[in-house]
């Protein structure tokens, strides 16, 4: 027993001795909301996160965060995810700078880390893998390789195909969509006229075809299945420019082309065939900041994601020719009540925020912030959109392009550095002509969020 105690002491001493810096803590987050459009109407989600950061050497760091979740939602096909735990981050990272006349910076991440594309609309989620970056004063090149199939379902927002959707609703499946992700990006900060330029090429590969019992349909199948599909692989080529226009007026603009292949039931041929994907995404906006006027911020943004009018269903619904609906890898929340996927959507946003007490010297009051947003939604083609609830009529052959407009308001407050609070309310006023006859024209909801640092 003494030997074990001594050994434990030696191990603890050596371990602590090698950790030149150690930082740890925790947070508790709660979100409680009521939405007329969801079932159940009342939702609550809680998260306890414990994080740990340390420096293992002059250039090497280690970050970890594990979270426990409790929520009342039952939207995972009967699988109980009321209480579960997940690793948010497990990242061994390093940064080695070579100073001098020709400085270079080599960086790497290995493990589970946050990853996103330059627009943040195509991929914005954790990833298990490796990221290596090499930078010089003119540009940086980053290569990312990873896998999404080790993220448990509630933490994954990847639903690109019917197989992904089946995974969500299959009780036995614990993890999210299994896809290999690769990205090569080049960032050129201040390239010309102080504008930042980013170029990226990204690919996702559905790994199900390499798995046994994958339940994928084969090309040539003549019987149409509403619930089964094939694999969906795609590539994205992205360009983004952002920077100042004059003073505190900024802009950004990005364009992405998606290529790939999708299993399609070609009505004219009466069978399933793999058809090419050729789709587009354009997004951009202008942002004006006036810190002297109660920290006023005004934003005008727009996003266009191409659609396909011959899609019969939202997932793998192509019935003729190329698939031209843009399919992002992860989903993005764009509004509080009505938040369709960035696919066959044309949406804008006019937002105004200010801090009415920013003139006060008391920092506990000056950060109180009010924000109002107006968000119109249209679809560029009469093809289906991802909303499934009261807008079902749209996916049933409705020819309306204008879907409706949402108005959101929020109040955010940080009374102390360790406590953050927000109240968000929203109302979606639908185009009556686009509605199912039984649905109400007004859908509304609201939520309260609290975040406490331990």
């Amino acid at each position: 027993m003494r030997k074990h105690g001594l050994l434990l002491l030696v191990v603890a001493t050596v371990t602590c001795g090698t950790l030149s810096a150690l930082d740890f803590g925790g947070t508790i987050d709660n979100t409680s909301g009521y939405f007329t459009s969801s079932s159940p109407n009342y939702n609550q989600a809680n998260k306890l996160a414990l994080w740990f950061n340390t420096q293992l050497g002059p250039h090497v760091f280690f970050d970890a965060q594990v979270s426990g979740y409790y929520q009342n939602q039952t939207t995972y096909g009967g699988t109980s995810f009321g209480l579960y735990a997940d690793l948010d981050r497990l990242d061994l990272r390093g940064q080695i700078a070579e100073e001098g006349a020709n400085p270079n910076l080599l960086s790497f991440d290995f493990g589970r880390f946050a990853a996103n594309d330059p627009t943040g609309l195509i991929y914005d989620q954790g990833l298990d893998g490796l990221r290596i970056g090499l930078a010089n004063p003119y540009f940086s090149v980053t290569t990312t390789l990873g896998y999404t199939g080790l993220t448990i379902k509630p933490s994954s927002s990847i639903i690109m195909s019917l197989a992904d959707l089946n995974g969500i609703t299959t009780q036995a499946q614990y993890f999210g969509s299994p896809r290999a992700i690769g990205m090569l990006s080049i960032d050129m900060p201040g390239l010309l006229l102080r504008q930042d330029v980013a170029l990226a090429a990204m690919a996702e590969v559905d790994v199900r075809p390499f798995m046994a019992n994958n339940n994928l349909l084969s090309p040539g199948t003549t019987v149409r299945s509403p619930t089964e599909g094939g694999s969906l692989d795609s590539q994205y080529f992205i360009a983004k420019v952002s920077g100042p226009i004059v003073g505190s007026l900024f802009w950004n603009g990005a364009f992405a082309v998606q290529t790939g292949q999708m299993l399609s039931y070609i009505v004219a041929d009466g069978q399933y065939e793999y058809k090419p994907i050729l789709a587009y995404l354009a997004t951009g906006g202008f942002h004006l900041y006036a810190p002297q006027l109660l920290k006023l911020a005004v934003g005008l943004d727009a996003t266009y994601a191409s659609g396909d009018r011959d899609f019969a269903t939202f997932y793998e619904g192509n019935t003729a020719g190329n698939a031209t609906a843009f399919i992002p890898i992860t989903q993005k929340t764009v509004a509080a009540v009505f938040s369709p996927q960035i696919d066959n959507i044309l949406t804008g946003s006019l937002s105004v925020s200010f801090k009415p007490l920013s003139g006060l010297k008391n920092p506990n009051l000056s950060n109180l912030q009010f924000e109002v947003k107006g968000i119109p939604f249209l679809r560029p083609t009469t093809g289906p959109i991802s909303a499934t609830s009261f807008l079902t009529a749209i996916n049933g052959g409705n020819t309306q392009y204008y879907l409706g407009t949402e108005v959101d308001g929020s109040i955010k407050y940080r009374p102390f550095s360790d406590l953050g609070l927000s109240i968000t309310g929203g109302a979606f006023i639908a185009n009556p002509a686009a509605l199912a006859s039984s649905a109400g024209a007004l859908q509304w909801g609201g939520k309260v969020e609290a975040s406490l640092s331990l």
């Binding site: 947070t27 102080r194 100042p244 810190p291 006023l296 269903t313 509004a335 509080a336």
Partner: protein
């Protein structure tokens, strides 16, 4: 031909004119300001005191000092310790190099003197280099009131900051963009996780995890 030779000689003489070292002088003091000359000991500063190169200037709580650096003015803010590294001047250019150990300064570099200004303030984590401008600098952030500042990390990764803009060091690579700073100032962040871990999210009606409607066209 003679004229060309004469002009060339004059230009050469001007270009090779010896740069001479200058001293700074203190023009204004509020509160407690001290100076530490090389090899000397701390002395209380007075208006008119000469600050030679390598002298350390330190200000106390609620104390400030204004230094005339010959071709520029420098306001040393409270609780600051900085060193004058180099003050050189010849007929065509002026070189000013300062090292900010801790604290903040407000610099006014005059670009109407008809000379080339090589002005830089270095801190342990960044450098601000300018040619005729007014700016605030505290090592981690740089705010520009006039002109353009090249704000960079010690490794040499930098970006240009213009009038009314602020840049903050957020990574060992390039300092953050001016919009990132404005966004951080205008938005109240609810998530208190210092590592940036996300808060929980509730789905709206568009977040689809439900059934699929099939319509055969």
């Amino acid at each position: 031909m003679r004229k060309i030779v004469l002009v060339s000689i004059i230009l050469l003489v001007v270009a090779l004119a010896p740069a001479f070292s200058q001293n700074a002088t203190i023009t204004q003091i509020t509160g407690k300001v001290q100076l530490l000359a090389p090899g000397g000991s701390w002395v209380d500063a007075k208006v008119g005191a000469v600050v030679s190169p390598l002298t350390v200037v330190a200000t106390g709580f609620n104390s400030t000092a204004v230094l005339n650096l010959g071709t520029s003015q420098l306001q040393v803010k409270q609780l600051t310790r900085m060193r004058v590294i180099e003050l050189l001047r010849n007929q065509s250019s002026a070189t000013t190099a300062l090292f900010l150990t801790v604290g903040a300064v407000h610099a006014n570099v005059d670009n109407n003197l008809g000379i080339t200004q090589k002005y830089s303030i270095q801190s342990p984590v960044s450098t601000a280099a300018v040619r005729g401008t007014i700016f605030d600098f505290d090592g981690y952030s740089c705010t520009v009131d006039r002109g353009i500042v090249h704000f960079s990390t010690p490794a040499g990764f930098g970006r240009e900051i213009t009038v009314g803009q602020t840049s903050v060091l957020t990574s060992p690579y390039v300092p953050g963009s001016a919009e990132e700073f404005e966004q951080a100032q205008s938005q109240t962040k609810v998530n208190t996780n210092p590592t940036g871990g996300g808060t929980t999210n509730l789905p709206g009606i568009g977040i689809t995890t439900g059934s699929v409607t099939v319509t055969i066209k």
